[in-house]
Amino acid sequence: MRNLAHLLETRQVSSREIVEHYLGEIKQQEPDLNAFITVDDVGALAQADAADMRRSQGNPLSPWDGIPIAVKDNISTKGLKTTCASRFLSNYKPLFDASVVRSLRDAGMPILGKTNLDEFAMGSSTEYSAYGVARNPHDRTRVSGGSSGGSAAAVAAGEAPWSLGTDTGGSIRQPASFCGVVGLKPTYGWVSRYGVVALAPSLDQVGPMARTVEDAAILFSLLAGPDPKDATSADARNFEVPFWDDQFVKDLKIGVPEEFFGEGLHPDVEKAVRRSLRTLEGQGATLVPISLATNDYAIDTYLTLVTAEASSSLARYDGVRYGERVHAADSNTMFSKSRAAGFGPEVKRRIMLGTYVLSASHYEAYYEQAQRVRTLIKLDVLDAFKQVDVIITPTTPTTAFTIGAKRNPLEMYLSDLFTAMANLSGIPALSVPCGTDPKGLPIGLQIMGSHFREELLFKVGYVVERSAAR
């Protein structure tokens, strides 16, 4: 991205040319890839021309002025459809920009369009999108992952230089891993959620997806910071892109939790991750075997909380103001019929589960219990960071699976096996490509750090990235 910025700065290329290039890629690949739900060529070109104008007047908004981006379709863009891949919002045009979109616009970045996802970000493959699956650029019979599958696929396929995703239980990192791109789930609270359509507010975070660790860090530096519109936003400083060097690895203690290398992990994935670990060790890092025993409960806890919060967050889609209203004699019937018609199967499943776990007679056994376990998980994680600087695990147990392969929802839920822990404990986690399997499918490695240690994650990721390239 620094190269692109340099070319723009030295006027060797215009923003219009860059945007036209990506729009060309989109036009060519989309019929097959389906990474986008909405492409805003008119808007992107107009924003590109405005950027070029600023450059010619010597007033660029930022070094990245004129470099376009793709935005996941559950992040509000003023006047540009934001569907959440749901029929309920098929025609919804927000009246306002999400704070993160505001940040992109303030940096002068044209928005190419809105990327595909599982409906309301519920899923791990984009197969639950009301607008069809986003395919994996490395093998189009396979899924791109989810829920930010469109954002990952668009970057991997060269349809966009970078993109925004959202991550509630792994929704940035898992598709990043499947598509061979870099994705960060930031510390909870460091990036504003204002304007991001809620799935589970206590877990949701927006994060960058990019081709390189450095690009992801640059994009993150534009997103991170306090937002007065988000009461859960952390009172944290802005983020500055680190200085890249390998020397710090010498003093690094890397935690390797045995629980993440056990049953269910595909040998190809394990091999690639272990190879990266050995490289880091070779550069002087210390590998520390650790235990994160509470991860056994992560998926159950995650599902309980995510479905509970989702059942409430999505209640407003009731046919009164959103979606097709199914007329009925009384309002309760109207609500249930409209919701039955408007939501896809996974959303319904989670709303039903969430309604159940919050119901008066089960609240204590499920929701309250899950909150307690969440606290234990957080303590477990924080405890680990007393011994080590970062924790490295595979991002996902397998590489990208075939479209239609996971018919059983429980199987799909296991996609978050290694990623949900970071959301539950609020810590940052970065997925970086670390190799491919024999079929050429990308493998991702996850680096977790304690709260607000993103800088360290990027620096370790940078080393992993370079070793994988060799």
Binding site: S76, A198, A231, E309, R316, D318, S331, L358, S359
Partner: protein, 475 residues
Amino acid sequence: MTRYDTVIGLEIHVALLTQSKFLCSCRASFGAPPNSQCCPVCLGLPGTLPLINEKAVEYATKAGLALKCNINHYSRFDRKNYFYPDLPKAFQITQDAFPLCNDGYLEYYVDDQLVRTAITRIHLEEEAGKLIHSGESIVASEYSLVDYNRAGIPLIEIVTAPDIHQPKQARLFLEQLRLLMSYIGVSDTKMEEGSLRCDANISLKPSGSPVLGTKVEIKNLNSFRALEKALEYEEIRQSQVLDSGAKVRQESRTWDDRAGKTVSMRSKGDAPDYRIFPEPDLPPLNLDPVWVELIAASIPELPLERLNRLEGEYGLSRYEATFLVNYPDFGELFLELADSGLDCKTVVNFLMGDYARLAREKGHLDSERIAGLFQILDERLISQTQAKEVLDALFSSPQTAREIVKDKGMEVVGDPERLRPIVHQVLEANPQLVERFKLGETKLHGFFVGQVMRATQGKADPEAVNALLQEELVN
């Protein structure tokens, strides 16, 4: 009725009089054109997030302190989930497990007896929108319109203990509560505009029994009168049910004001499960004790304190003091006038008399202009009768009482040298009557006074005229 003890508890919603709404910065005023005071946040548009209005917390804290509650330095917001077309997010942000205030009380008079009702809790929550039905009700309507101006206005819900034992007491409690809220300035408490709403729970138990009976919730109580009437109705209905050997059903009933009775809405089994859980979009509320102290220091004299002071320090009767407490504008005026040295009884009689009638029509006068009226009365510049005319004029002109009197030429003529010729005239014009008076018909005195008053267009000081007549006729 003596076979049963009545047990009543109230749940009162008070709309807080903040400039902006509870969770966004929209204006919170009443009566604006429909849907002119809303924004993405109070419309619950996807992706929007709530932000707490500090003023709402301040007002709720103030209400809690005025009701002698513990102010919890830790409280938390929750989501109460239910579907209704006026609820933008399909959940209400409220406080369930950790309310802002606990364990207070309110004292008030019932038939000269000071009683105390315990307040169990007070919590903050957001108001829903307003439905305007094309027909009688949502079920009987072809369509309903939604006005979101009201959505997101801050409310406090005040819950009493089941401490109230008669319908009249419930009304008196609510009246006192309303007064308290207006004293501390947190709400305009208009039942007709919905800024004060009350639901009542009522149960009956055999006299003296420690075990509570089955309670019934009554909704749609839109006036103080409705509250009392509905509870009276329900007292009789439940006692009849119990007399017949049947059991009272736990249910919600609505008050039908026209029919004068309560009607069953839904039974306990149909009660919705609100699936309440902590609001993930809002961090818990942690109040700074110093801030709470500041709020406490800002609380003015409360109604009961004022009542005691008016009786004790100013020597007013319960009736007078109650009037001044119930109409705090009159109360303030009274205190200003009385504290300026005027006689308390004179002032209160004046305020409760003609002044009250005029002030209700035309608004209050400055205390200084009223004091001016008292001043010229004291100087005997005008008569009591004339004072009424001056008072009228004070309400319609910006002049002082003295100026009015001067302009209208109303000064009382008390100077004997100016009055003597007029007295002579009157006596000379009625020689026979003077003769009859001298023969002992003393009641004619009044006639002569009247004639002098007539001749002076009422300006003569009656006492001076009396003295002159006495002088002329007797001597």
